[in-house]
Symmetry: C2
Subunit: 470 residues, 2 copies
């Protein structure tokens, strides 16, 4: 009945039934089909508005979806829910060079926005592995982070103006290109990072940046964590605004990924405790290279680095990044892979990693390896291990998230909460915060039709008074 | 009765009656005393919580106040309201060099935070003229902008973690130092820029930046607006992350402020249409200076600049900035000063300025002068004129805000809305946006006790359904 009504609003060709979705995996990572009763594809903002108004009136639950590349079951649908795909809203306007902004629709992929910006001599500051599939709407809804957050900030920082549709179909549009805009509450902040639970993002005006003229990339080895962290501090200052990445790999991951079963070869000796990839992108290639090499040489001579190599070609640069970014061998090794996306104070990282290793050995000795790597410059570590049996995952979840709370960390840095991390949210947020989130959710979506069950439940032990009831 | 109860909570010495406030001006800009019935000064977060819980239960309206330097009557109190001063919460923790953050309480001044950061070899990215009086809590509540927003962003960008107290006394605390933190809704964003209407900010963890080693400053003259804007684009790229200011002054302001009645002397010829101050702060003084001078020379030789001077000493640098920042002569000239803080697409600035000049001549020929200057790099202009009679102000308000709307601008870039701009908010925000703001306000402060009447009214023609009722 609802589906027929929606077909009347947007055309029957854009309402796909469950049967038609059989071959369509429910996310980027699995081959399982979606359980949703249907998928609807409005063609413009007005249609999104009409579909939501109808669903709200009918109590029909709606799961907004972009490129389905999120890692937290953020677009998982139950059998009575419908998927709302933004794929037909995929336009990108011509970039405005003077204001350094571009307007794009939610369904445009990150990569296409990057390419459009680059043609205009500009850089879109958001980049991550799933760029070819991930959509702008999804990236903003999840406040994606990625490889350039150190320089340009997370997805939130890229947004000048935003348009979103509320659960009742109200279009809240503020598509301005301004850096400064204190005209009342900054409503876009409410939608960014709310994982589709407070509104459906339809369009955005994005800040762009000057396009750098070249990249300098180095790989360094350390045996002392403090020396690696000190290099970050030094490069942050000395490379001014050109430092774009500062990544760390614990030795076990580096040695594995450059070893016999790995994906690449080591351009410097294996066996060290930590490896760092740093990259700067500037506008004056000859000076930039000279300064970069001087700083890396200084890290080697006086800064505690045990070894260092600077990429001399784009091929060498890609080989260095491949060690960090290629997880094919890891996936083969680990089988059932258990992975975490964590923020930590840099000072707590070393002891956190040691504690995880110790507790895994004590409580889950069957686990396979412990790979730690991540965006040291953002205080963001990714931790991966393998388990012989998927049923071990809850044990390891409790172990890792318990240690994260004890070390003052956050259970999600850039991947979000979705369903996967919902029950651990209490490790990072207080009962008062959870109650306030619930109050905002019930205010903006009183019928609980928008991506229900993601991030925060609207019923259960946290009361609206900001106290834990049990 | 309420005051006695508050005295019981925080001590009678910290409840100042109306009589005791007689000599205390209601804001930084006027000598008029406050009309508030009392001022209360809790000494810590728990006391702020207890005071608000009590006021909420009693229906007592509360005006949170910091340094009272805002320009929009943002802390103005009526006779039945009480002021809640955060001045006793003024602690600043030792900066954490490794995470480049510092925790500070709401009552700490911007200048003290800057100084504490600098001692640790770090830079606090927020700076504006009122730094010595303005408090952190006020700056965050107003999402202050200022002189370094081009490089470091507005106040919002400085905040890693935040603590605020809701109208019912609930403490919502998330004092984490992370760059990336996707653990549910980013609640701090709701309080920043909400002008004390959604909660009282009590503490924050602030991002800090490497402290630059030196500043290079130039003053340039242009007769062509497009050439000035093109220089901004070029410097943004070529100076990478070191460009910290790009200010513009229309010729009338420059000529006045460097003239007989002005505050400084002109280090280059007067009579040009536009003057630009640009400043870069880097970490490699000799290279930075060489690159800066090369770029300025190129602007002069090929970029359309008619004249240019690079400051050769800190004294010369201060002389250049004094032309832009010293408004003493302007205040003398204008008498009753009417001023605006506007965001505009850079492409629309020239025609906007011309339209204002034309309409002022046609509709308010008695006005005295038209001074335009501002942060071109942020798309933010300040426009000032004088009127012989304060009663002319509403006419000029309508004229300027009408033209801002017609040119796609925003009625507030960095000063906020408060009371002063509330009735013009409709020029920048849609009925749907205003209705959503109202819905958020009534959700978070159902008794409307927190800074009532600022930013958005909770009653009146905008309905909660997102439509205009009349």
């Amino acid at each position: 009945m609802v589906l027929e009504e929606i077909a009347g609003l947007i055309g029957g060709a854009h309402v796909l039934s469950r049967d038609e979705l059989a071959g369509r995996p429910r996310d980027f990572w699995t081959k399982e089909p979606t359980r949703a009763r249907a998928l609807v594809r409005p063609g413009n903002v007005a249609e999104v508005s009409r579909v939501l108004a109808l669903c709200n009136a009918r109590g029909q639950k709606v799961i907004p979806e972009g490129g389905r590349t999120n890692l937290v079951q953020g677009t998982q649908a139950a059998g009575d829910e419908i998927l709302l795909s933004l794929e037909r809203l995929n336009g990108i306007a011509d970039p405005d060079a003077r204001s350094a902004t571009v307007m794009a629709e939610a369904g445009a992929t990150i990569q296409r926005i990057q390419e459009r910006a680059e043609v205009a001599g500009l850089r879109f500051g958001l980049d991550f592995g799933a760029r070819g599939s991930a959509s702008l709407g999804g990236a903003l809804a999840m406040n994606a982070g990625g490889l350039q957050a150190l320089r340009y900030g997370t997805a939130r920082s890229q947004v000048a103006g935003l348009e979103a549709v509320l659960s009742d179909g109200t279009v809240v549009s503020h598509l301005t290109p301004f850096t400064k805009d204190n005209t009342g509450y900054d409503l876009k902040q409410f939608f960014i990072g709310s994982e589709g639970t407070l509104g459906v993002i339809t369009r955005a005006v994005l800040h762009l940046h000057p396009l750098p003229a070249g990249a300098d990339t180095a790989l360094l080895a350390f045996d002392d964590f403090g020396a690696a962290a000190a290099l970050l501090g030094a490069l942050r200052a000395q490379l001014a605004g050109t430092l774009s990445s500062f990544e760390i790999m614990w030795g076990e991951f580096f040695d594995f990924n450059t070893g016999e079963q790995g994906v690449g070869t080591a351009p410097l000796a294996r066996g060290h405790a930590y490896y760092v990839i740093c990259e700067a992108e500037g506008f004056d290639p000859s000076f930039d290279r000279q300064r970069f090499e001087t700083l890396i040489a200084s890290a080697f001579e006086r800064g505690g680095a045990r070894d260092a190599v600077v990429a001399q070609s784009e091929r060498e640069r890609r080989e260095i990044w491949n060690i960090r970014e290629n997880f094919d061998a890891e996936i083969r090794l680990f089988g059932t892979l258990v992975d975490y996306d964590l923020s930590l104070p840099i000072d707590a990282m070393e002891s956190f990693a040691e504690a995880v290793r110790r507790e895994l050995q004590a409580k889950a000795p069957q686990n396979r390896g412990l790979h730690i790597m991540g965006h040291l410059g953002d205080g963001n570590l990714h931790l991966t291990t393998g388990v012989p049996d998927p049923e071990m995952k809850p044990l390891i979840d409790e172990l890792v998230y318990g240690l994260i709370a004890a070390h003052g960390g956050a259970i999600s840095a850039e991947h979000g909460i979705g369903i996967t991390k919902k029950r651990f949210l209490r490790h990072s947020r207080s009962p008062e915060e959870l109650a306030l989130m619930r109050r905002l959710k019930t205010t903006l979506d009183p019928a609980n039709i928008l991506n229900p069950g993601k991030v925060i439940d609207v019923t259960g032990p946290v009361t609206l008074e900001g106290r834990v009831a049990q």
